[in-house]
């Protein structure tokens, strides 16, 4: 049985498509984009062009052939640089890595060469590429394969960073990421690939209000969104009406949506999969402390991963869960 979490609340953005999982929604978005524009091509190592470690490119090479679903050497630096070169030559590459963590050895290429290209060239060159990063924990992959990468990539000028908060928005986000003239990192939480939902529209740099409420604003993105949803339901049973915001875009941040919710509720909790220290949750808190301090009636709490590496064994003890979110909600409400 699947529960249709992503259709809650009933929302005009939801279409009538049957539910499918995040990998499938991404595959559909990729397929649609490749059909619509023959400048779009998919890149990755052999695993990624032969279906993908998480299944989001299955059948693609059979449908589009090995020129448009192009296998690259197993070297993320070469992969990123290839995408950059192809963009220079007018294409719109979509590069998939096995694990988002693999980008850590190529941040010079991503953050210096790719992200700043438009700026450095005075708008004369640009790099419209999409980088698909399976992100975060949830599959027991240990500390080196479980980063959520919002921390490392979310504050890089010139780089759009977008996180799928559920299967529902994945198709819409990847389509728009491909259409964007900027380089876009799509964070795909590993723990959500098998979640099922009906597709809905999301905008590339607009946060989504997933649930309205007057008592407290809950800010989440990526893998933290389903945890936050659970907390919204639980809180409702306690009579606490939570407004749930899926940030969707990490960079740029939709400050207006964040602030207008906070101004309405006066209370906020931030839920974040990655470590607390130096994460993007801090940026959300800082924006509020800077621009909405007079609306703030209680401490802004962050429920996040611990300031430790993520462990393989017992990783569920590391990642924020509904119980920890509820505890923060109660603290803020009771303040």
């Amino acid at each position: 049985m699947t529960t249709d979490r992503d259709n809650f609340p009933a929302d005009p953005g939801v279409d009538n498509r049957p539910m499918s999982d995040m990998a499938t929604q991404i595959l559909e978005g990729l397929t649609k984009a490749m059909l619509a524009d023959d400048k779009v091509l998919c890149l990755g190592n052999e695993t990624e062009t032969q279906g993908g470690l998480f299944g989001a490119t299955r059948g693609l090479v059979e449908d589009f052939g090995p020129e448009r679903v192009l296998t690259l050497p197993d070297n993320p630096r070469a992969q990123l640089a290839t995408a950059l070169g192809m963009a220079h030559a007018g294409l719109r590459p979509v590069l998939s890595l096995n694990f988002g963590d693999d980008v850590l050895g190529a941040l010079d290429i991503l953050c210096d060469d790719i992200a700043t290209l438009r700026y450095r060239s005075g708008g004369q060159n640009s790099c419209p590429m999409v980088l698909r990063l399976p992100s975060g924990g949830g599959i027991g992959a240990g500390p080196a394969h479980s980063r959520d990468l919002a921390r490392e990539l979310g504050g890089q000028a010139g780089l759009r960073v977008v996180a799928c908060g559920s299967a529902a928005t994945a198709k819409s986000l990847i389509e728009q990421a491909i259409r964007s003239d900027d380089p876009v990192v799509l964070l795909e939480p590993k723990s959500l690939y098998r979640e099922r939902a009906a597709a809905r529209v999301a905008e590339l740099d607009r946060a989504l209000v997933l649930h309205q409420g007057d008592d407290l604003s809950l800010f989440a993105w990526g893998a933290a969104v389903p945890v936050a949803r659970e907390a919204v339901e639980q809180a409702a049973e306690l009579g606490i009406e939570i407004e749930l915001i899926d940030l969707v875009s990490i960079n740029p941040l939709d400050e207006e949506t964040i602030l207008s919710s906070l101004r309405k509720t006066g209370r906020g909790v931030i839920v974040e999969e990655g470590s607390k220290r130096g994460g993007i949750g801090a940026e959300v808190a800082a924006v509020i402390a800077e621009r909405a301090i007079d609306s703030l009636e209680a401490p802004l709490l962050r429920v996040a991963g611990w300031n430790t590496p993520l462990s393989r064994c017992g990783e569920e003890l590391y990642r924020p869960d509904c119980g920890r979110v509820m505890r923060a909600v109660e603290q803020v409400i009771d303040f």
């Binding site: 080196a144 639980q234 607390k276 300031n307 064994c313 017992g314 990783e315 590391y318 509904c322 119980g323």
Partner: protein, 349 residues
């Protein structure tokens, strides 16, 4: 390709054999032991116990790993990646510790992927899950070991597979090793169906003395590692041995094992492995492996997750205030909400 035992287990170059009978029997036993231990690990993985989804067995390369490890000096510093059960077992890590580390019931609580545990008493460094990640550190360690002031001439050794050689850090490690004149021994297992001797050729090209060896020939591996490691040690320069092994086909019979059989046939032909000894070895391995597996499984079942204070330990050499705060926070939470083992049950309603 260097070979001392042919496919049937006949000694083709009798004078090349320096390993003692005891050493050869021990290689045989440890290779069998490793195979059995990996099989049990896969069984636990299939049962879903102990977060073992990323465990990778070393089927096909275990004989080479064991023979190579026994040919080294005991305090040569070993770096390894995934797929190296035989290395630890050959160094003397006991089966209980082996299973406990994989299931996260040891000191490191399964924080890293299975098979990467640090074994300082056995001069084995904590491994990394990324391909090629151990190669350049091994070069650096070798350089450090060679610095004056270190007592005995120790070398560093890195075990890896073809995946690592496709990473740019393999070339980086070769270059670094020649640049630093590091006494490091690279031990690569390759697929005998794959391109023949290519890894050794790349090493030679980069100025690293290399040999291409039949990795299913335990004696060839042992003798090559023993002699090249001595050269590396004495001359203070890097070496590489490519050991070509037969990997079982995916889904093929994991029981068949040409490298075990080859050594076994030789030992039998020499009268060193009578049938009753062979049976006794198998029985002992079976007993020890099952007992160790069960002991570790029991530990894991009793304590399926690391105790909460361990979440916050060993991040830095002494706890920082933020970690102490998070630890306290976690304890308060458990106290308040009952600390159920099922994280879902810890939700309020």
């Amino acid at each position: 390709m260097k070979q001392i035992l042919d496919r049937d287990g006949h000694l083709s170059q009798a004078d090349a054999l320096t390993a003692s009978r005891t050493e050869l029997l021990e290689i045989y036993r440890l290779a069998k032991l490793t195979r059995r231990a990996d099989e049990e690990m896969l069984r636990l993985q299939a049962e879903g116990l102990g977060d073992l989804s990323f465990f990778v067995p070393s089927f096909g390369e275990e004989t080479a790993h064991v023979a190579a490890t026994l040919a080294l000096e005991f305090d040569d510093l070993i770096f390894r990646g995934l797929r190296g059960s035989g290395i630890a077992l050959a160094r003397g890590v006991d089966l209980h510790a082996f299973f406990a580390a994989a299931l996260g019931c040891d000191q490191a609580m399964g924080r890293s992927l299975p098979g990467l545990s640090a074994e300082p008493e056995f001069s084995i460094c904590c491994g990394s899950a990324r391909p090629a990640a151990s190669l350049m550190p091994a070069v650096g360690a070798a350089r450090a070991l060679a610095l004056k002031g270190q007592a005995q001439p120790r070398i560093a050794v890195a075990f890896f597979g073809v995946g690592s050689t496709q990473h740019p850090d393999f070339a980086g490690a070769l270059e670094l090793a020649t640049h630093l004149e590091s006494p490091v021994l690279f031990l690569a297992t390759s697929d005998r169906q794959g391109p023949s001797g290519e890894i050794a050729a790349r090493a030679e090209n980069a100025g690293v003395s290399a040999e291409y060896v039949d990795g299913d020939d335990a004696i060839a591996v042992f003798e090559s590692v023993r002699s090249l490691s001595q050269i590396v040690r004495q001359d203070g320069r890097p070496g590489l041995i490519e050991m070509a092994v037969e990997f079982p086909e995916p889904g093929g019979n994991p029981g068949s094992n040409p490298a075990h059989d080859r050594l076994g046939n030789f030992l039998k032909s020499e009268g060193l492995l009578p049938d009753d000894l062979s049976r006794e070895i198998n029985r002992a391995i079976d007993r020890e492996v099952v007992e160790a597996r069960d002991a570790a499984s029991n530990l894991k079942t009793q304590e399926p997750r690391p105790p909460s204070e361990q979440i916050f330990a060993e991040v830095l050499c002494r706890a920082s205030a933020d970690l102490e705060g998070q630890d306290q926070n976690y304890r308060d939470f458990d106290a308040e909400y009952g600390g159920s083992e099922d994280p879902d049950a810890r939700c309020l309603l």
